[in-house]
């Protein structure tokens, strides 16, 4: 009783067309149909943020979006945050600041940080902690993550003037 349909979306600035059943989440589609496995699954009910992607300019947990809802949407995943093959400021800050241990939450944190910096270019520590509260990390104790976000914000302000 397959009721698959064709969905067309812009994913990481490229048009993507995929077949999907209504019951498939965007997370499942990204990972299984499009092989974009950088988006991680941690809980499947919106509580851990590991599957965070940016959809139409807003951070969402892709486990709580249906794939069919992506019709016509613009979606950015971890694979699309840096298009020229190098690392962007946020990725560099996480890497240089040792802001990851096991790394499973890292793509979600980076996407959420992208959303934060798009909204607020110079966030305070409290802003960062509030904005990232939907992303769980069990390894780092968050200290180095928060510092990396601060460093990324600073660096981005330097590079974008």
């Amino acid at each position: 009783m397959s009721n698959k349909r064709v969905v067309t979306a812009t994913i990481n600035e490229e048009t993507a067309e995929f077949l999907c059943e209504p019951r498939q989440t965007l997370l499942e589609v990204l990972r299984d149909s499009l092989n974009l496995t950088g988006t991680k699954e941690g809980c499947s009910n919106g509580n851990c943020g590991a599957c965070t992607v940016i959809m139409n300019g807003h951070a969402v947990v892709s486990c709580l979006v249906l794939g069919v809802e992506a019709e016509g949407a613009e979606i950015q995943t971890i694979e699309g945050v840096s298009c020229d093959g190098s690392l962007n400021e946020v990725q560099s800050a996480f890497l240089e600041g040792a802001a990851l241990q096991c790394g499973i939450c890292t793509p979600g944190f980076i996407m959420q940080t992208e959303a934060l910096l798009a909204e607020k270019s110079n966030p305070t520590e409290d802003d960062i902690r509030f904005y990232l509260a939907g992303n769980l990390c069990r390894c780092t104790g968050y200290d180095k993550i928060v510092r990396a976000v601060m460093a990324a914000a600073e660096q981005r302000q330097v590079t974008t003037g």
């Binding site: 498939q24 807003h58 069919v68």
Partner: protein, 298 residues
């Protein structure tokens, strides 16, 4: 997840027709932050999911002479980011700012929060306090139900199978009024309210006497509650600790909390008292013009 069909109408009449045609086996989808998880766990197994986000009437966010209109599918981030809401319907902004995390707020709607009808839904006590009215459309036309009467039990509400919540309308705010929503959660974010309290207060011109008050309570009964007597007992009273204490006692009288993994019954009764007082204090301060910036969770 079970298999289902998906439709995304762009016109209200079309959505209503699809609902009517499905004999109760359809579920409307707005932000999906409750529904998709509930379908994953098997709690809901609709054969049709009707994505109502593209219907214009369900996406309004307008503040006009007749008050505030919030489309049922309007996501939280738009609501708490709206200047009018922040300024005049602050309790609603307070609530929308703490429903889930930022990612949830990108999608979740207050209409969905209402239709999910959880006793602890954060936006509901705020909307009760602001005297929200649910505008419900069905094949037989439109009817209005106060937010305070919308939920009828855990996960249950007044909507018939062929009805759709279109918007929540809030009356214009009088001058010298203020409102606040606050909840007790064990963490500072990403939690379900152990107790949630919304309150709206209007003062006289001198700012000394309460001329109107409305209090909503969450997570202390099978549905969110309007603490009617608690609000009424404040009217005509001067602002004082004793006045607020009366409201606290009146609020505690109507609650029937349970013990669960989020808190004990005894604790919830106690916290209801603490939060009613604190929320009223903040609402009163806001009515006097002090914005009272609150740090969620603290």
């Amino acid at each position: 997840m079970h298999a289902f069909d998906y439709k995304s109408p762009e016109v209200l009449a079309e959505a209503l027709q699809q609902l009517a045609d499905s004999d109760g086996s359809a579920k409307p989808l707005a932000g999906g932050t409750d529904l998709i998880d509930q379908m994953r766990t098997g709690r809901h197994q609709p054969t049709l999911v009707i994505d109502i986000k593209k219907v214009a009437e369900l996406n309004v966010l307008e503040c006009a002479g007749d008050g505030l209109h919030v489309g049922a599918a309007t996501p939280c981030y738009r609501i708490c980011g709206d200047d009018n809401v922040q300024q005049d319907y602050t309790a609603l902004a307070d609530a929308c700012n703490i429903i889930g995390g930022v990612q949830i707020q990108s999608r979740a709607s207050v209409g969905g929060n209402l239709c999910n009808s959880g006793p602890a839904g954060d936006s509901i006590p705020a909307m009760i306090a602001l005297r929200g009215i649910c505008v419900i459309a069905g094949s037989a036309g439109t009817r209005e139900v106060p937010v305070a009467e919308f939920c009828t039990g855990p996960g249950q509400n007044v909507l018939a199978d062929n009805e759709l919540l279109v918007e929540i309308r809030f009356p214009p705010r009088p001058t010298a009024s203020g409102s606040h929503y606050r909840r007790m959660i064990p963490r500072n974010e990403m939690d379900i309210a152990v107790v949630g309290v919304g309150a709206s207060v209007t003062l006289n011109e001198a700012g000394t006497t309460i001329t109107d008050a409305c209090i909503g309570l969450g997570a202390v009964g099978p549905t969110p509650l309007l603490a009617a007597r608690a609000g009424e007992c404040l009217v005509g009273q001067t602002v004082s600790d004793a006045t607020l204490a009366n409201a606290v006692e009146a609020a505690k009288e109507i609650i029937s909390p349970i013990t669960d993994m989020r808190g004990t019954q005894e604790y919830r009764v106690h916290v209801t008292g603490v939060l009613v007082r604190r929320v009223l204090e903040t609402a009163i301060s806001r009515a006097t013009g002090d914005p009272c910036v609150v740090r969620p969770g603290h």
